[in-house]
Point group: C2
Chain length 383, copies 2
Amino acid sequence: MNNFIFQNPTKLVFGKGQIAQLAKLIPADKKIMMTYGGGSIHKNGVYAQVKEALKNHNVAEFGGIEPNPEYETLMRCVAECREKEIDFLLAVGGGSVIDGTKFVAAALKWEGEPWDFLMKPLKVDQAVPLAAVLTIAATGSEMNKGSVVSRRELKEKRFFFSDACFPKFSILDPTVLYSLPKKQLANGVIDSFIHVLEQYVTFDNKAYIQDYWSEGILKTLVKVGPELMENQEDYDNCSNFMYAATMALNGFIVMGVAEDWATHMIGQELTALHGLDHGVTLAIVYPGVVKVMREEKAEKLLQYGERVFGITEGTADERIDKTIAATEDFFKSLGVKIKLSDYNIGDETIEEVARRFGERGYNLGEKGNITPAVIKQILNEVK
Amino acid sequence: MNNFIFQNPTKLVFGKGQIAQLAKLIPADKKIMMTYGGGSIHKNGVYAQVKEALKNHNVAEFGGIEPNPEYETLMRCVAECREKEIDFLLAVGGGSVIDGTKFVAAALKWEGEPWDFLMKPLKVDQAVPLAAVLTIAATGSEMNKGSVVSRRELKEKRFFFSDACFPKFSILDPTVLYSLPKKQLANGVIDSFIHVLEQYVTFDNKAYIQDYWSEGILKTLVKVGPELMENQEDYDNCSNFMYAATMALNGFIVMGVAEDWATHMIGQELTALHGLDHGVTLAIVYPGVVKVMREEKAEKLLQYGERVFGITEGTADERIDKTIAATEDFFKSLGVKIKLSDYNIGDETIEEVARRFGERGYNLGEKGNITPAVIKQILNEVK
């Protein structure tokens, strides 16, 4: 096991009816900005529940934060918060709304141009306190310190991390998933699944519990994902899925182990260039990564195949083939197409993605050996 | 999955050589009281490492905190801290030292007699900040908010919980286990193992990930426990054991599931009455609990047997028998005797334990159906 430092102060408030707890969770004297997305919270009843819980609080609102939250939108939110002297941010939405709200929280305390801390390795050590009411299970943003922000005019999608951006609390009521569009459900299952794989399918770290925990989340997603596509209003499956998504990226499974993240880094570029859903980019790129990196990852791919999909027959090579195929089949069982050509993406984009990483001058993967040339190979595998 | 609220703010600093981080982790202006036990830290080099790391800090010392930390001892520590105007407590030791230090931290801020918050359900909401350097893997106290304190003159062993008592940080260097007496190693493996069972072998909570995570810790302990009894200076096994012990009782595996704790509650009385090691009391009592509660716990016992010990053959009853036997064999493989008679404990004690619970007027177990009469039955099973 590698040396590590772990801390995650977010309070998780989980279960049916928990949105009502908001009244107690936010101090009465706070000036709250409630942020949200395209308005689905008006349809699913979450907006009404939040407003009811906070009826005695001072609450302003900022809606319209889009998927892959946009810098320009968020900077408008920053301006409104400044004007209203907001001192507490409440994100009501999925990963995009929460990520965007983290950015706003940090930008409000930042001196200078906030775009800088997305483009340069600058330390963000202050933020306005924020919390979340989760409406989409997927990114894990509700219990971590990361945020991803896009700037469409520059075709950039960038991230930052800050200890100051852990939500003070996050409320997870699994029943909000009952009315989620199927596409978002599928994307969320894939996003959570790949989060785990990025922290698990590397090499043997002699971290037995971390491996079992990763496999536990994967097995749960393999079970509940397809069942939810059939019947979304199942509390057991919704609660296990929502829990899985949070546990997949809150630091619990990554203590003392190596991390990959090549799939996310490459996928992020596909979103920046073509606006593809985040989950879709992951389902496309991941099979390419493991096909190209199969030797480096062999030991873990065999373990993943055996423990998650029960693949034990055949030579090592055959078992790895079966494991990659099972992974692809799982994504497809969620109704997602997993080839670049399905999205009319071809060689030009492959060249551009490789060029971007060449320009940035760093390689990807747990061993830092995924060069721009290897990135090209990976994307060619999934054309 | 049940509704739950989870929060654990402790920073975990894990790995070889991490004790040196102390200098950065404690603010320079703090007046520190370093607490420890019987002096093993002088032999294993931990004392020297702590003193070296804190050479520019203001550090007082209080040694001699005994296993099952004693109220009188801790109250002397409280007096010394008051006199020296201590504003930071650093526990260097195992669960007893950390538990004792949590009590001191809370007592320093308590108005009135601190014994009260051990005997009555009073809320402890303030404590002097504390942190830990762990030297024994066992209780999980390094990353939770609980504390157990004994008062020998009254033959009482009592606990309290407080959010204010989460350590600010805990340093876990697995190499400190290399020189731990075998008996403490065995007790620590059992303590961690039973912590998991108390949160896992109840009934089906439809919490799939929590089950997998519990089983992951159990499987890890079944592997590394006996190996460590053979060869203690194995970093992989020491780090996995130390990690297991912390994860077994930091709230991670208990989100949304029922809890038992009958074994701990009954075992605590055996320590109070006879001074038995905590780990030993658990190894004695647990088999009695599952033998008597086998019907209520059948579903989980079958799952535990299959997933942890690979028991799949035979009728349900036979598999439960095998599972209980495998559990007993595991404890014995660590060199621990698991019958009351091995410790010259007989009917008188059984009567007294039952009498005490009768007096307190509450039952034990995840369903609250372990009455004093059932407690008697349990102890008679393990005579």
